[in-house]
C-alpha cells in the first residue's frame, strides 16, 4: 500500500498515517491529534539514515525543534554531525527517513527551505581577496537581502569586526575569519541556523558575541542547530548524541 508506506506527514486524517501511527501510539497515543492541531513552526526529522560512500553513518536518528528551540549535535568524530547538518540543510538527500518543516517535507519544497535557513559550514567560505565587509555583504545579497548598510554594520560590530571591515580577508586570523562567517548570520534574515563547529578558533569575547546572537535569534522565534564538541552557551538546548546511538 503505497499511501501507507510513504512517510509523508501531509495533513491527512490520522488514520491515513497508519504506519507512523502504529509505531508511535505506544509512547504517544495522541501524537496524531497533537500533530494536526499544532500551529507553531516545527522542524523535525524521523528515522533518518545517512550513507556516505557506502558506509552507513547513522540510522534511525530523530530530532524535533519548535520555534525558539535549540539542538546541539554531539558525538565523536565521524558520528555524522556534519552529515546530519547537511541533511537538514537539504544539501544532501537522506538515504532514509524524512525531514519536515511545518508539515511539508523539505524535499518537496527545497526553494522555501533554502530561503529560511542559514548554513555555516566547517569551512568559512571567506574569500581572501575580498574585504571583510564585502564578504559579509555578498553573502547577504546572495540570500536575496539587499545589503542594507545599518544591518551590515550591525552584523560586523556584533562580532567585533568593524575595525577590520575594509581589510582584505587574507590578513585575518583563523578566529577572525570564523567571526566573518558568523557575521553573515546577522546580515540576512533566516529562521533556521545550522552551525557546524561555530565556536572553532573563537576567543572568549567572540564566544559571548555568538551566545548573545544565538539568544536574540531564539527570542525572535528562530531555531538553532549546532554541531559542536566545545561547550556552547545555549540555554535549555536539547542534545542529540549521535555517538551514543551506535
Amino acid at each position: 500500500m503505497a499511501w501507507a508506506a510513504r512517510a509523508s506527514p501531509l495533513p491527512k486524517p490520522p488514520g491515513l498515517h497508519l504506519r507512523r501511527y502504529l509505531t508511535r501510539w505506544r509512547t504517544d497515543p495522541f501524537w496524531a491529534v497533537r500533530y494536526l492541531f499544532a500551529d507553531m513552526a516545527e522542524f523535525f526529522g524521523e528515522a533518518l539514515v545517512c550513507v556516505r560512500g557506502e558506509r552507513q553513518v547513522f540510522a534511525g536518528v530523530e530530532f524535533r525543534l519548535a520555534s525558539g528551540g535549540a539542538l546541539i549535535l554531539a558525538g565523536p568524530n565521524g558520528a555524522g554531525k556534519s552529515s546530519l547538518l547537511r541533511l537538514m540543510a537539504g544539501l544532501a538527500p537522506a538515504a532514509g527517513g524524512v525531514i519536515v518543516w511545518d508539515r511539508t517535507p523539505i524535499a518537496d519544497d527545497p526553494d522555501a527551505h533554502r530561503a529560511r535557513l542559514h548554513y555555516v559550514g566547517h569551512l568559512d567560505a571567506v574569500k581572501p581577496t575580498l574585504t571583510v565587509a564585502e564578504n559579509v555583504a555578498y553573502a547577504a545579497e546572495l540570500r536575496g537581502a539587499p545589503a542594507a548598510r545599518p544591518l551590515l554594520a550591525q552584523a560586523l560590530s556584533r562580532f567585533g569586526l568593524e575595525a577590520l571591515a575594509d581589510l582584505p580577508a587574507r590578513y585575518l586570523s583563523q578566529g577572525q575569519r570564523r567571526r566573518t562567517a558568523l557575521a553573515r548570520l546577522l546580515a540576512a534574515p533566516g529562521e533556521l541556523w545550522l552551525l557546524d563547529e561555530p565556536t572553532l578558533a573563537l576567543d572568549a569575547a567572540a564566544h559571548d558575541a555568538l551566545a548573545a546572537a544565538l539568544a536574540t535569534h531564539r527570542r525572535d522565534g528562530g531555531m538553532v542547530v549546532a554541531a559542536t564538541h566545545a561547550p556552547i552557551a545555549l540555554a535549555d538546548a536539547a542534545t542529540l548524541d549521535l555517538g551514543a546511538r551506535r
Binding site: R86, A89, G90, L91, A92, P93, D111, R114, A115, L117, Y119, G121, H122, L123, D124, A125, V126, K127, T129, L130, E134, Y138, A139, E141, L142, R143, G144, P146
Partner: protein, 221 residues
C-alpha cells in the same frame, strides 16, 4: 536578480584582484599565435590561409586553461555550499558565474584576436567576421566548458578528464567559427556559419545551466 548580480559582482571582483587566471589565458593565446609564424614560415599566403584556424584553435585551447578553477576554488573553501543554498534558482546563479568567467577570459580573446590576425596576414574582409564569430563562439565555449568543470569537480584526475570530456563538444564551435572566417576571406557569405554559431550558443544557453546545476548539487553532497 539581486543574487545574480551579487555573484556576478563578486566573481568580477575576485578576477580583478587576482588577475592571474585571466592573464594566463590571454598570455597563452597571444604567445601561441605569435609562435606560429616562426614554425610555419613567414610567407604571407601560407599564414593568411591558416590564420582563421590558428586563431580559433588557440582560442579554444586557451579557454580550457581557466576552466578547471571555475568551480574548484568555491568548492574548496565552502563558498559553493552557500551558492547552492541560496534561495535563488541555482541554474540562474550558474549563469552569473559563467558570465563573469566569459567577461574575464573570453572577452579579452575576442578583443585581441583581430590584432593577432593582422600579424597572421588575415585578409581584410576577415577581421569583422573573426571578431563576430569569436564573440558568438567563446560564450558557447564557456558554457560547454562549465559543464565539464562541474562534472569533474572533486574528481582526482580532473585536469586530464576535463579536456577529454569537453573537447568533442567544442568541435562544432571550432568548425563553424573557422569556416565563417574562411568563407568571408574567400568572398562567400559568412552568414550561415554565424547563424549556426548563434544556434549553438542559444542551445548551450538553454541546456548548460540545468546540467551544471545538477552536477553541482551532486558535487556538494
Amino acid at each position: 536578480m539581486s543574487a545574480f548580480l551579487a555573484l556576478l559582482r563578486r566573481d568580477l571582483r575576485l578576477a580583478l584582484r587576482s588577475p592571474g587566471d585571466s592573464a594566463t589565458v590571454l598570455l597563452f593565446f597571444v604567445l601561441a599565435i605569435v609562435l606560429f609564424p616562426f614554425g610555419v614560415g613567414p610567407e604571407p599566403q601560407m599564414l593568411a590561409r591558416i590564420a582563421a584556424g590558428v586563431v580559433w584553435v588557440t582560442a579554444l585551447l586557451a579557454s580550457l586553461l581557466a576552466l578547471e578553477r571555475l568551480f574548484q576554488l568555491d568548492a574548496e573553501d565552502g563558498a559553493l555550499d552557500l551558492i547552492v543554498l541560496a534561495p535563488a534558482p541555482l541554474e540562474f546563479l550558474v549563469l552569473a558565474k559563467i558570465l563573469a568567467h566569459w567577461l574575464t577570459t573570453g572577452l579579452p580573446l575576442v578583443i585581441v584576436a583581430p590584432l593577432l590576425a593582422l600579424m597572421l596576414q588575415l585578409a581584410p574582409e576577415g577581421y569583422g567576421v573573426l571578431a563576430i564569430s569569436l564573440a558568438l563562439g567563446t560564450p558557447s565555449l564557456s558554457l560547454i566548458g562549465a559543464i565539464g568543470a562541474a562534472l569533474t569537480l572533486g574528481a582526482r584526475r580532473g585536469t586530464v578528464l576535463l579536456p577529454l570530456l569537453i573537447l568533442p563538444l567544442y568541435i562544432p564551435v571550432l568548425i563553424f567559427g573557422a569556416a565563417a572566417v574562411d568563407a568571408a576571406t574567400n568572398g562567400l557569405s559568412a552568414r550561415p556559419h554565424l547563424l549556426l554559431l548563434a544556434a549553438i550558443l542559444a542551445a548551450a544557453l538553454a541546456l548548460a545551466p540545468w546540467t551544471i546545476a545538477a552536477s553541482l548539487r551532486q558535487a556538494v553532497q
